[in-house]
């Protein structure tokens, strides 16, 4: 019956570790790179965007079409519905250098773009 006790101790320990690390995390906060992106007639403009490596990225997406779209990137782990004729903010965590594709899930074949991290 000591197993639950061990587990509650483990939970407490995890909570303490969490608090300690959150203090460390706050100190590490970096300023993000902001990128403007628009979407019209099932096309991203610009189709390719760039950002520096190892800094958080904020994508400001304007959906100029009347229909809703869903901004998605498997490699960036982003999935966001953007209503017709409206704006959205997408936070992307700091990435390593590379090419990350994104697309509109509702029009996956034609509506594609990429984020190049250098």
């Amino acid at each position: 019956m000591s197993f639950p006790r061990t587990l509650s101790k483990a939970t407490l320990f995890a909570a303490a570790a969490l608090l300690a690390l959150s203090a460390a995390g706050a100190a590490n906060a970096q300023s993000a790179t902001e990128i403007q992106l628009s979407y019209k007639d099932k096309k991203f403009d610009p189709a390719e965007i760039t950002a520096p490596a190892n800094t958080p990225i904020v994508i400001k997406l304007k959906n100029l079409d009347a229909k809703a779209m869903e901004f998605e990137s498997k490699t960036l782990k982003v999935e966001k519905v953007v209503a017709g004729a409206s704006d959205a903010t997408i936070n992307v965590r700091a990435q390593k250098a590379g090419r990350y594709e994104f697309f509109d899930e509702y029009n996956e074949k034609v509506a594609r773009g990429a984020l190049v991290v250098k």
């Binding site: 587990l7 939970t11 869903e70 953007v82 209503a83 017709g84 959205a88 996956e108």
Partner: protein, 276 residues
């Protein structure tokens, strides 16, 4: 048409799995169909409301409304699932103690039906609003292929329902005694996975920035966008690039469930010492 089928199926797949599990868990509870059906219907209605107000919802909390909304409803589901497990821990002992009373004990299980109906509603609501937006966009667009896309969409819905039935019939083949243990574990993992997803949404909203380092990348073994990866993502919360926070939250929910089940369940000793 095929593209529409895939999009809709991807969305309803998760809800299908969850509804299937809930149906199996409540299989012997009378009037469960009314509750589960109610949860399903409420989820669909709520999904339509969310779809209509998608723009307004997004704009809340400095553009992070969607993320916070998802984190909130996932947290509600986590609480309901955990509560269900803890509540059943009490009954599980009664079940083990005297098989004759089992039927009666399960009848009282209807008390936890509300919790599970809410879980069903949340599962449908989460993915449903995207399906509604997609299908509405196609139908309102009025292009020539609208009919075929809609057909594909509804075929996707039917496939999601098929997943639900497969999950259900797979689970109910398990004998009653083993079913209880199986669903307890399934529900605990489901809750932990949902909690980790809620943490991921808070991270995307920048509300949770602590411990946001990625622990590992197992995408080369199993990508969480593959079919199996998505199934495991729903069932046990698999993700190929978890952050430290997601892992801590995941383990914490499992630990909390275990401790609460031990604390509030009928003491195991009494059952073990009774002549069987």
């Amino acid at each position: 048409m095929l593209a529409a089928l895939i999009i809709v199926f991807r969305e309803v797949f998760e809800a299908g799995l969850i509804v299937g599990i809930v149906l199996a868990v409540t299989r012997t509870v009378p009037r469960r169909n009314v509750w589960i059906g109610g949860g399903l219907l409420a989820g669909i209605l709520a999904a339509c409301v969310v779809a209509i107000f998608a723009g307004a919802l997004s704009n809340l909390f400095a553009g992070m409304g969607q993320e916070l909304f998802n984190a909130t409803i996932l947290s509600v589901a986590v609480v309901m699932l955990t509560w269900h497990n803890v509540w059943m821990a009490r009954h599980g002992s009664e079940l083990a103690g005297e098989m004759r009373a089992a039927g009666q004990a399960v009848v009282e299980g209807s008390k936890s039906l509300l919790a599970l109906a809410i879980v069903v509603g949340v599962a449908v609501l989460r993915e449903g609003s995207e399906v509604v937006l997609f299908l509405y966009g196609v139908l309102a667009g009025g292009d020539d292929r609208a009919a075929s896309v809609a057909l594909g969409g509804f075929a996707g819905l039917a496939l999601g329902a098929a997943i639900c039935m497969l999950t259900y019939f797979g689970l109910v083949r398990i004998p009653m005694r083993a079913l209880f243990a199986t669903t307890t574990v399934l529900i605990a993992l489901l809750a932990a996975g949902m909690a980790a997803q809620a943490a991921a949404f808070l991270e995307k909203a920048n509300w949770l920035t602590a411990m946001d380092n990625v622990m590992w990348d197992s995408g080369w073994i199993l990508s969480d966008s593959s079919f199996l990866g998505r199934a495991l993502h729903t069932l046990i919360g698999y993700t190929d690039q978890p952050t430290e926070m997601q892992l801590v939250v995941y383990l914490a929910i499992l630990a909390i469930t275990f401790v609460l089940m031990r604390l509030y369940g009928t003491p195991q000793k009494a059952v073990a010492s009774s002549p069987g």
